[in-house]
Chain length 401, copies 2
């Protein structure tokens, strides 16, 4: 499919030539498509919005998408564009500010990993309290099958990624620089672990440097990718508050962890809680899950919703399934202890669970398989490319009461 | 007026014979009046509700109201009953659970002192953080002309009283024992200061011991006396939460100070904030005043409300007035420094402020006089005795839209 290749190259080129998140760019992309927009930009076509053309002109000589893709390939990364199976439909909520493309590194499937992921963000200069709360929260979320998405920065972000990884959870770091540019330096090791077990994501091509504006622009992607944003610690003008504001605008759940009123790093959290009735105070992971869990409940009418594979399991088999970790397999004896069932029950349940696509072997142990979670794309056609917001076309419009 | 004396003696007797806060008692009081209820109780009249009669029977031999009043007199106290000028009309919000009488000690006027008072309550076993926040908050409230009412207990209560006193504010301690029974022991000195500068209040006659149930019953009076309740620190089952719940039921503002989510003594505050949309998170005194200040704003239509004496002051005279403490007078030089005005401005402002009833001399210095604040009772007739809830009978009922 050479047209797919053209689309991919065009988006790689556009993401080198243009800054993401600019509405005029998104509008031009919607109007012309990526291939045509890229052709016109190169041709200096005056039909392209002046703002778009101006931004691109200076960079055009340096744009070489094949070279960028090779560079990405050398670090084991891949380019994602709208329409890819791995491209999360939820990014469509950003409208004309949706990413043009995403450069990613790591073993996780972006759509699957972010479907049950919470943004845990906060101050770069977190206190010991903030670091402790962030890592504890992310570890508890991981234990409950929820991943953590954050920005890879010092302080709360780093603690959140680490807490998630330590509990064997799925962590996604959305960077404001190329996925081969380890920024900040002190997170070299953390990023290596994320590349091995999680996912590094960026809107900017390899080698791109982080700029102040890019951090803010990046925050909208963290907000859009996740079911909700938890601000753990934030000073009065912290960038984490911009993620929270994006999340509010996108209709995502926004939560804040309180702290001592005597601590400057909690000022932003308290201000969020005071200024927005929609922002919920959360103390532990269960509170977060209560919030983000509601989204599914809200979208699925409880009486008429389809019964999931998991709901159909017999109680003892369900206990075995619930005892399984999401990552880093455990053996049958551990499953029996965790699930509170006989070893014999575990041994006779594993086969059926595997057949149902709910469990898989991982090394010497067993982990949950994402089988039934991924069934959404099988049940509903993927949204039409170019307008990911046109999801669920078959949903009847409720009559006006 | 011997009937007034009879009423006073009857209520003194009832408050020895019966526990307060019992609806059946309040109903009997409403039905028969204090003098008649007391006569019937003594006569063993079967017409009195059995619950009321049973509670009183065992105590009748010990009831000697004259002796209790003498005992109160010896410690310089006074008995307040409904209809007294000092009796706060807001207690009528408690309906049949309103106090039968209040035994008080201290120089403050109960109604005037509680008209601009906030309940600052919390854990007996407060952390250093909770103690610090409570005293800081009450001191800032005092600086802004708001008094602090609390329960005189160890921990947050004590810190709140102390912070208020230290800033020269008006503090009211509502006890669960007689006003001559210093409980807890370690607050001997604190209670001495409150008796000298503030107000000790109790529903129980002199010599009464504190019981577990009395603390809870007492909490409804703290909630009713104040414009709002701030919970500074509270463990999951803290008694301070009962004060907050009473305040919510009474339509008072309820606020909570957050703290570290890792601290057990903040658990109750976070639970309040999570479980009640009406509970506001507050960080500093300005937030508290914003909440309790609204009550006045809600009751007084902003356009049509009368302009207060203070609002009519010229800007430089107003600066002098604002610089004045509520208690413990300061000299003209201090007023000039605090108000940011010339000494000459202070000297020419003091006369007019005194004439307007807004300032008075106190020892060698000047303090705010409560003149215009007390004008409410002059403008509106006091509510009919026996049903204090029947206030503002002239307020037209708004038409149903």
């Amino acid at each position: 499919m050479s047209s797919d290749l053209d689309e991919r190259l065009a988006r790689a080129a556009l993401s080198r030539a243009l800054e993401p998140g600019i509405q005029a760019v998104g509008e031009a992309l919607d109007r012309h498509g990526a291939v045509e927009l890229w052709r016109r930009l190169r041709a200096g076509d005056p039909l392209v919005a002046p703002a778009v053309a101006r931004g691109a002109a200076a960079r055009l000589p340096d744009v070489a998408p094949e070279r960028d893709l090779e560079r990405l390939d050398r670090v084991g990364g891949r380019l994602l564009v709208p329409g890819d199976e791995e491209w999360p439909a939820c990014l469509g909520d950003l409208g004309t500010a949706a990413p043009m493309a995403l450069w990613v590194r790591g073993p996780l499937h972006l759509d699957a990993a972010t479907r049950r992921s919470v943004a845990v963000v906060g101050s770069r200069s977190a206190s010991a309290y903030g670091g402790h709360v962030a890592s504890q929260l992310s570890a508890e979320l991981a234990d409950a099958g929820w991943g953590t998405t954050s920005g890879g920065a010092y302080g709360v972000d780093g603690a959140a990624h680490r807490g998630c990884l330590a509990a064997g959870g799925e962590t996604v770091a959305v960077l404001a620089c190329g996925v081969d540019v380890p920024y900040p330096r002190g997170h070299d090791l953390l990023f290596s672990r994320v590349v091995e077990e999680g996912l590094l994501v960026s809107e900017w091509p390899p080698g791109s440097a982080p700029h102040r504006l890019r951090f803010l622009v990046r925050n909208r992607v963290i907000a859009a990718l996740t079911a909700g944003t938890v601000v753990v610690e934030a000073a009065a003008r912290s960038g984490a508050l911009s993620t929270a504001r994006f999340a509010l605008r996108l209709g995502r759940r926004v939560m804040a962890v309180p702290g001592p009123v005597t601590s400057a790093t909690s000022t932003g959290c308290h201000a969020l809680l005071r200024e927005h009735d929609e922002v919920r105070l959360v103390v532990r992971a269960a509170h977060v899950i209560e919030e983000v869990g509601r989204i599914g409940a809200d979208l699925t009418p409880p009486e008429r919703g389809p019964v999931s594979e998991v709901d159909r399991l017999a109680p003892d088999v369900r206990a075995v399934y619930d005892a399984m970790p999401v990552r880093t397999g455990v053996g049958p004896a551990t499953l029996a202890a965790r699930g509170g069932v006989e070893l014999a029950v575990v041994l006779r349940s594993l086969g059926p669970l595997q057949v149902a696509g709910l469990a898989r072997q991982d090394g010497g142990g067993w982990v949950k398989a994402p089988g039934p979670r991924r069934s959404r794309s099988a049940a509903a056609p993927p949204p039409a490319q170019g307008d990911p917001r046109a999801a669920q076309p078959d949903t009847p419009t409720p009559p006006v009461a």
